[in-house]
C-alpha cells in the first residue's frame, strides 16, 4: 500500500516442526508428525498476511512456532532482522512483548478468576511497561477504550461478557505491550455472524490507527481471510501451496487446491452461485503422519499426472509476488 510495506518485519525460512510419535514404556520414537514441513514467507511492516487451510494443515503450528511456544525442528525465523529460532528461554519473554497472540476461543483463553482490568494489565506489569499505579490504571482504561469497551467494565469478570466482548478483551491484552506483530489464530470463528464483523472492523481500525502494526491472520474461512489480508498463503498438509495478494487469489488462483477451496465456499448471492463452477474434491485430507509421496495433494487432485507422485514441488514464482507449488503450473 505504501512505502513502509517494503520493510520486512518477520522472515520465516524453511520452517519445520515435527512432533515425535512415541510408543511403549520407554517412549521410543516411532515416527514424526510433520505438522509444518518447509514453510517460507515474509511479513512486511504494516501488512496483513492471511494463512488459510483446513484443520490439520499446520497453520496454527506456524503461528505458535513464530511466537516460540514451540521449539521448531528446523528452519529459521527472523524477527526484525534477528534470528529468534533458538533464542534462550530468558530472552523469549522480551520477544513476546513485541509479538502478541489472539486466541480462537474467547471462552477458554481468558482466566475466569481475573477481572478484565487485570487480564489486560498483566502484560504491562510482566514487561514493566508502567512505572506506577496511576499510569497502570490509565493505560488499562485506555486499552479498553481502544477496543470499544467501557473502561468502567474493568472490574467485571469474563463470564459477565458476551463472546464478542471477550474477544475484545483478548485484543486489548494483545495490544498492551504495543507489539509490532499480532498473530491472530482463528480470532472470530467462535463468534456469531453478526458479531464477527465487529471484531474484523476493530482489527482493521487498529491497524489504521497504529501505523506499522502487522497481522498474521490464521483462519480456515477464506472469505474472512481474503477480506482482511493484503496477501494470502494457502497451506495444505504442512506446506504453503500458493501465496499471492488477496485480489489475485480470487481472480487467478493457480494451484488446483486453491481452486477447489475457492469453489467449495458458497457465495451469499444466488445469482453468482448459478454460474459458478464447482470442483468437488474426492476423499479427505490425508494424515500428516503418513503423507502421500511427492505432492501431498496429488491423490485428491483433478489435474494430477504420474509425475506428481515423484517429487515434492517447490514453491516457485510465476508472476510477480505470486508463488505456486505445483508442477502443472
Amino acid at each position: 500500500m505504501n512505502s513502509q510495506l517494503n520493510d520486512t518485519i518477520l522472515d520465516v525460512r524453511d520452517l519445520r516442526m515435527y512432533f515425535p510419535v512415541t510408543m511403549g514404556l520407554l517412549r521410543r520414537k516411532v515416527a514424526d508428525v510433520k505438522a509444518v514441513d518447509g514453510v517460507t514467507f515474509k511479513l512486511k511492516r504494516g501488512e496483513t498476511l492471511g494463512l488459510v487451510g483446513e484443520s490439520g494443515c499446520g497453520k496454527t503450528t506456524v503461528g505458535r512456532c513464530i511466537i516460540r511456544l514451540y521449539q521448531p525442528t528446523g528452519g529459521q525465523i527472523l524477527f526484525e532482522g534477528e534470528d529468534i529460532t533458538s533464542l534462550p528461554e530468558e530472552k523469549i519473554r522480551n520477544l513476546r512483548s513485541k509479538m502478541a497472540l489472539i486466541f480462537q476461543d474467547p471462552y477458554s483463553s481468558l482466566d475466569p478468576r481475573q477481572n478484565a482490568g487485570n487480564i489486560v494489565g498483566e502484560p504491562l506489569i510482566i514487561h514493566s511497561m508502567v512505572k506506577n499505579q496511576s499510569e497502570y490504571r490509565n493505560r488499562v482504561e485506555e486499552l479498553l477504550r481502544i477496543v470499544g469497551l467501557d473502561p468502567s467494565m474493568k472490574d467485571r469478570f469474563p463470564h459477565e461478557f458476551s463472546g464478542g466482548q471477550r474477544q475484545r478483551i483478548g485484543v486489548a491484552r494483545a495490544l498492551a505491550c504495543e507489539p509490532s506483530v499480532i498473530i491472530c489464530d482463528e480470532p472470530i470463528s467462535a463468534l456469531d455472524v453478526s458479531i464477527q464483523a465487529q471484531v474484523i472492523n476493530l482489527l482493521e481500525q487498529l491497524q489504521e490507527g497504529l501505523k506499522g502494526l502487522s497481522y498474521l491472520f490464521i483462519a480456515h474461512d477464506l472469505s474472512v481471510v481474503r477480506h482482511i489480508s493484503d496477501r494470502v498463503a494457502v497451506m495444505y498438509l504442512g506446506r504453503i501451496v500458493e501465496i499471492t495478494d488477496s485480489q489475485m487469489l480470487y481472480k487467478n488462483p493457480l494451484h488446483p487446491y486453491t481452486k477447489a477451496l475457492l469453489s467449495a465456499i458458497p457465495i451469499a448471492d444466488p445469482f453468482v452461485e448459478e454460474t459458478r463452477e464447482r470442483i468437488i474434491l474426492k476423499g479427505e485430507v490425508p494424515s500428516p503422519l503418513n503423507p502421500p509421496p511427492g505432492c501431498s495433494f496429488h491423490p485428491r487432485c483433478f489435474q494430477a499426472i504420474p509425475e506428481c507422485s515423484q517429487s515434492i514441488p517447490p514453491l516457485h514464482e510465476v508472476n510477480e509476488g505470486h508463488e505456486v507449488a505445483c508442477i502443472r503450473v
Binding site: 455472524v193 477480506h227 477447489a260 453468482v272 474434491l281
Partner: protein, 348 residues
C-alpha cells in the same frame, strides 16, 4: 403469544403440493430465570421436492423449531401451541412417544444433526445403528437389513461397505461419520430430510462434498430438504426459498433470489452487509450489526430487533411485534417499515 400472525398457505399459485405445513408453532422453555420463548409463532411450509433454508444466528430458535417438528423437545421445553400438518394430519395431536409419532420420526421425516461426533452411538457398530432403523420401520430382518445397509453406505460414498459396516464411529473421520448419518436418514426413504447445521463442524472441502451428497440424495429419493444454517452462502447455493429467523420468529421469507436481490427486513439487510464475500472487491467495508442478539428470557412483546435496528420508527418500541405481511411473489416481511412504505406508495 401467537396471535396476529398471518398464515400464508392459500392464494399462492404453487406447482407442487405442500408436504409439510407448520402453523403458529410455539415452543417454550420454563426455566428458573423465566419463560424462554424459543419459538414464538413460527409458520412455514415446504413443498414436495423442494429445498428450503432456515437461517439465523445461534439462539434464534431455528433448531428448536425443527426439533419441535420431530417432537424431540424434552423438559423443561414444551410445545405450547400451533399445528404441524404433514400428510393431512396434525402431528402435534400425536403423543411424542406414541406409536404414530414413532412411525413418522426417522422414517417419513428424518433428521441429520450438527455433531456427527456425538449423534452416533459410540458403543454400537455403524452396521447395528443402520439396521436398527431398517428393522424398526421397514420390518427387515438380519441378512436383508445388512445387505441394504451396505448398499446405503456405498450410496453415500463410503467404499468397501461390507468391511466398514462392522466398524465403530470412532474409526471414521468427521466427514465419514456425517455420511453415515446421511445413510441413516435416507434409509427409510423419507419424504422430508431436516439437516440441522449439517456441515458446521467440518472442513470446507468436506462441507462441499456433503452438501452435494445431500442434494443428490433428496433428488434421488424425491424428498424435500430443510437446511438449517447460519451460513448465507449455503442457502444461496442450494435453497429455493429462505426463511430468516430472529429471536424465535420468522422475520422475512421469500424465494432465495428475492431475499438476496431485494432484502426488506433490516436484519436481513444487516446480515448481508456484515459478512465478507469471497468475490468482494478490495476495500469493501463490513457494516456490523451493532449490539447483541437479545436474551430470550421474559422478552417484551415489541420487535426484538428494534434495539439493534438502524431504521426503526417510533412504533417499533410501542406496538407488538409486526406480523409477516405479503409484499409480493411469495415474499413476506415482518417489519413496520414496509407498512409505512406501502402507505406512502398508496397515497402517492
Amino acid at each position: 403469544m401467537t396471535q396476529g400472525f398471518e398464515v400464508y398457505s392459500n392464494g399462492e399459485e404453487q406447482t407442487m403440493s405442500t408436504l409439510l405445513e407448520v402453523k403458529n408453532l410455539a415452543t417454550q422453555f420454563h426455566t428458573e430465570g423465566g419463560v424462554v420463548k424459543a419459538v414464538d409463532g413460527v409458520s412455514y411450509h415446504i413443498d414436495e421436492q423442494e429445498i428450503i433454508g432456515l437461517v439465523g444466528e445461534s439462539g434464534c430458535g431455528k433448531s428448536v423449531s425443527q426439533l419441535s417438528v420431530m417432537q424431540l423437545i424434552s423438559s423443561p421445553g414444551k410445545i405450547v401451541g400451533g399445528e404441524i400438518i404433514f400428510e393431512d394430519q396434525n402431528l402435534l395431536k400425536y403423543e411424542a412417544n406414541g406409536a404414530k409419532m414413532r412411525s413418522i420420526r426417522g422414517a417419513k421425516i428424518a433428521m441429520i444433526f450438527q455433531e456427527p461426533m456425538t449423534s452416533l452411538n459410540p458403543v454400537l457398530t455403524i452396521g447395528r445403528q443402520l439396521t436398527e432403523t431398517l428393522e424398526l420401520h421397514l420390518g427387515m430382518n438380519g441378512e436383508t437389513a445388512r445387505t441394504r445397509a451396505i448398499e446405503l453406505l456405498s450410496l453415500v460414498g463410503i467404499p468397501s461397505g461390507e468391511n466398514r459396516i462392522n466398524n465403530y464411529p470412532h474409526q471414521f473421520s468427521g466427514g465419514m461419520r456425517q455420511r453415515v448419518m446421511i445413510a441413516m436418514a435416507i434409509s427409510c426413504n423419507p419424504r422430508i430430510l431436516i439437516a440441522d447445521e449439517p456441515t458446521t463442524a467440518l472442513d470446507v472441502t468436506t462441507q462441499a462434498q456433503l452438501l452435494e451428497l445431500m442434494k443428490a440424495m433428496v433428488e434421488r429419493f424425491h424428498a424435500s430438504l430443510i437446511i438449517v444454517t447460519h451460513n448465507l452462502g449455503v442457502v444461496a447455493r442450494y435453497a429455493q426459498r429462505i426463511y430468516i429467523m430472529y429471536a424465535g420468529r420468522i422475520v422475512e421469507a421469500g424465494t432465495t433470489k428475492d431475499i438476496f436481490a431485494n432484502p426488506r427486513h433490516p436484519y436481513t439487510i444487516g446480515l448481508l452487509k456484515c459478512i465478507p464475500r469471497l468475490d468482494e472487491e478490495k476495500g469493501r467495508k463490513l457494516v456490523p450489526i451493532e449490539g447483541l442478539p437479545p436474551n430470550l428470557i421474559n422478552m417484551k412483546a415489541t420487535c426484538a430487533f428494534a434495539p439493534r435496528c438502524s431504521t426503526g420508527s417510533k412504533r417499533c418500541s410501542t406496538d407488538p411485534w409486526p406480523p409477516l405481511t405479503h409484499i409480493g411473489n411469495q415474499h413476506y416481511v415482518g417489519c413496520f417499515l414496509n407498512d409505512e412504505e406501502k402507505k406512502s406508495e398508496l397515497s402517492a
